[in-house]
């Protein structure tokens, strides 16, 4: 499976007029709700501190942004920034896993919302643990909430009954020696349910420190069972805006949307701007079934 870049990339770029998003806008969670595309995107001010902005679109490509962030650092634990949001809808509620960065320490934080613009914090799922790349599964598995996270260099998962207390940690996937994802890997957007399994987009890099995107399929009942893992990346830094920027040679996704016809994968380029790449739904299904 390969993703095709949108010709109009990048779709979101820093906004010089708003200090809070003047430096960079990238890593965005994506949701498709009631006929509209929504993004929760990481925005960085010239002071280097990240907050989370919100944008809306009818077609997935042209965006209407809010002039203020919807989530900003609240206290010392977030004083360095709130970063890399992944949003999952479970039932009628939207949950956001994000990274709370204090300036010296980072950990996974959780918040929830009914409308994607006002958020209620739910604390830290794995308090005191240096961790990131967390994303919730959109359904309970075996009656429990399930969350992907990252204990370097591997992708892990954990289970919870209440979204507050997490345990039963297990490894999902590891880096592959000799491959493009041989050093470290981590989840990108939240797992996407398909009939054949959970579709997981993930990032990885090798010695060259180039962040590429891969795709795997996890078993529906036990996501630690990897049914398939594509050998080649589905996307890698090629365009100038992906190769040059605040952090060169990085493409990093925090979310994707699947409509009736198309998969839209939203990804940050060089930690500076945001783009989208797509694949026809039929191609995704073929990958899953084969």
């Amino acid at each position: 499976m390969k993703l095709k870049r949108y010709q109009g990339n990048p779709i979101l770029t820093p906004c010089k007029e708003h200090a809070w998003e003047a430096q960079a806008v990238f890593n965005a969670a994506a949701v498709y709700d009631r006929g509209l595309f929504h993004l929760l995107y990481r925005a960085q001010g010239v002071d280097g501190i990240s907050s989370i902005g919100y944008a809306l679109s009818r077609d997935g490509f042209n965006w209407l942004r809010l002039d203020r962030p919807v989530l900003e650092p609240a206290d010392e634990q977030e004083a360095g920034g709130v970063e890399d949001p992944r949003v999952t809808r479970i039932g009628d509620t939207f949950y956001m896993c994000y990274v709370a960065y204090s300036g010296t320490f980072y950990q996974i934080a959780l918040a929830r919302s009914q409308n994607l613009v006002t958020w209620e914090r739910l604390g830290f799922p794995l308090p005191g643990e240096r961790n990131k790349d967390a994303a919730l599964f959109p359904e309970k598995i075996g009656g429990r909430y399930c969350m992907l996270h990252r204990r370097e260099p591997d992708i892990w998962l954990a289970y919870s009954d209440d979204l507050i207390h997490w345990g039963d940690h297990q490894i999902v996937m590891r880096p592959r020696p000799g491959a493009w994802d041989s050093y470290k890997i981590g989840a990108n957007g939240p797992p996407l349910r398909t009939d054949a399994g959970w579709l997981l987009f993930y990032h990885g890099f090798a010695q060259d420190k180039v962040y590429r995107m891969g795709v795997a399929l996890l078993d529906l009942e036990d996501p630690t069972v990897v049914l398939k893992r594509q050998e080649e990346p589905i996307l890698e830094p090629e365009e100038e805006w992906e190769r040059e920027g605040d952090v060169p040679n990085v493409i990093f996704s925090c979310g994707q949307v699947m409509t009736e016809e198309t998969l839209y994968v939203y990804y940050g380029g060089a930690d500076t701007a945001l783009g989208v790449a797509t694949a026809p739904r039929t191609e995704v299904e073929e990958f899953c079934q084969s």
Binding site: R65, L66, D67, V117
Partner: protein, 326 residues
């Protein structure tokens, strides 16, 4: 009785970094959204307009409508682009003065937005029509065209509840406030051919209020959509005097038959006093368009001097007591 201004007015000012709202932001409708947030739909004009030589008003003055929301009714977050802008022929010279009412239609709340659509340049003596748009979520907006054809008309506000089973709307054929009824949304959007000609023929029967006091002698018009109270429909409206000063007034209309005025304040409840109301693109204007009730407080959102958005409040009970004693 006078309304109490929010101490840190204005609540929205023009934004020099966004072209479409860099000149002025004012006249704002308000509603509580399906998510409990307070939404403002506000009129915005890009800078670059110039005074008309020798006349009143401006040239190159084209309005569109922006959207902002708030949790407390005071601090607002805006969308960067307008949510209603000129896409249709009937509004090619601007979309102005939005009012919004949430109406229950078959178990769902639909927010109906009436606005003035211009097919002639602003400050012409003609070219104003009442147009309709709607939204269910303040994210996706739909247009429904001009709803009052062939009549110079503005200041249309829809009642938030049906009256005797019909959708009721106030509007303003200068200089009075009239009421019109529709069997349902379908008739509002697609009336029968003779609906309006029949209506116009008996306009007097449908006239609710006429200018009565000096401060509103030139003309009056509905401000915000009426608010249902036990005592009657609370109508906040505007009046213009012979010196072109715009003030806000209040009246109570009968619940079953709003053409019966139960009470009417002889004095305005808000008039241009602060500098931001007396000085601006159109001096000496307070123009109320949005009114919501939170707890026991009335929040009145108004445009000041055609330049910025402001807020004033009152205890609802106090205002009603005052009106009933008038």
């Amino acid at each position: 009785m006078k309304l109490t201004r929010y101490q840190h007015n204005p609540i929205l000012k023009p934004d020099p970094t966004e072209d479409w709202e860099s000149g002025a932001v004012f006249n704002c409708g308000a509603a509580i959204g399906p998510d409990g947030l307070i939404y403002l739909l506000y009129r915005a004009v890009p800078k670059g307009y110039t005074k008309k030589p020798g006349g009143q008003g401006y040239e190159n003055y084209i309005s569109s409508i922006g959207c902002a929301f708030s949790q407390d009714g005071v601090h607002f977050t805006r969308f960067e682009r307008p949510v209603i802008e000129l896409t249709e022929d009937y509004e090619r010279f601007g979309c102005e003065d939005p009012r919004v009412t949430g109406l229950d239609v078959q178990g769902k709340t639909i927010y109906l937005i009436t606005y003035t659509a211009l097919f002639a340049p602003a400050f012409s003596s003609y070219g104003n029509r009442v147009a309709l748009a709607s939204t269910e979520d303040f994210r996706l907006f739909h247009k429904h065209g001009v709803v009052i054809p062939e009549l110079e008309d503005k200041d249309a506000v829809i009642f938030p509840k049906p009256i005797k089973g019909k959708i009721a709307m106030l509007h303003r054929i200068t200089p009075n406030i009239q009421i019109v009824y529709f069997d349902d949304l379908e008739q509002l959007m697609h009336p029968q051919e003779d609906f309006w000609s029949k209506y116009r023929a008996s306009l007097d029967d449908f006239t609710v209020m006429r200018p009565q006091f000096e401060w509103e002698a030139k003309k009056i018009g509905a401000g915000a959509p009426p608010i249902k109270t036990e005592e009657g429909w609370l109508l906040i409206y505007h009046g213009k005097d012979d010196e072109n000063v715009y003030r806000a007034g209040a009246a109570l209309l009968d619940l079953e038959d709003p053409s019966k005025v139960i009470a009417r304040s002889p004095e305005p409840i808000l008039e241009p006093e602060e500098e931001y109301e007396r000085v601006g693109d159109t001096p000496n204007v307070v123009f109320p368009e949005g009114a919501i009730v939170m707890g026991d407080t009335l929040y009145l959102y108004y445009g000041a001097a055609d330049t910025c958005c402001c807020l004033a409040t009152a205890r609802l009970g106090e205002l009603l007591d005052y009106l009933l004693a008038c």
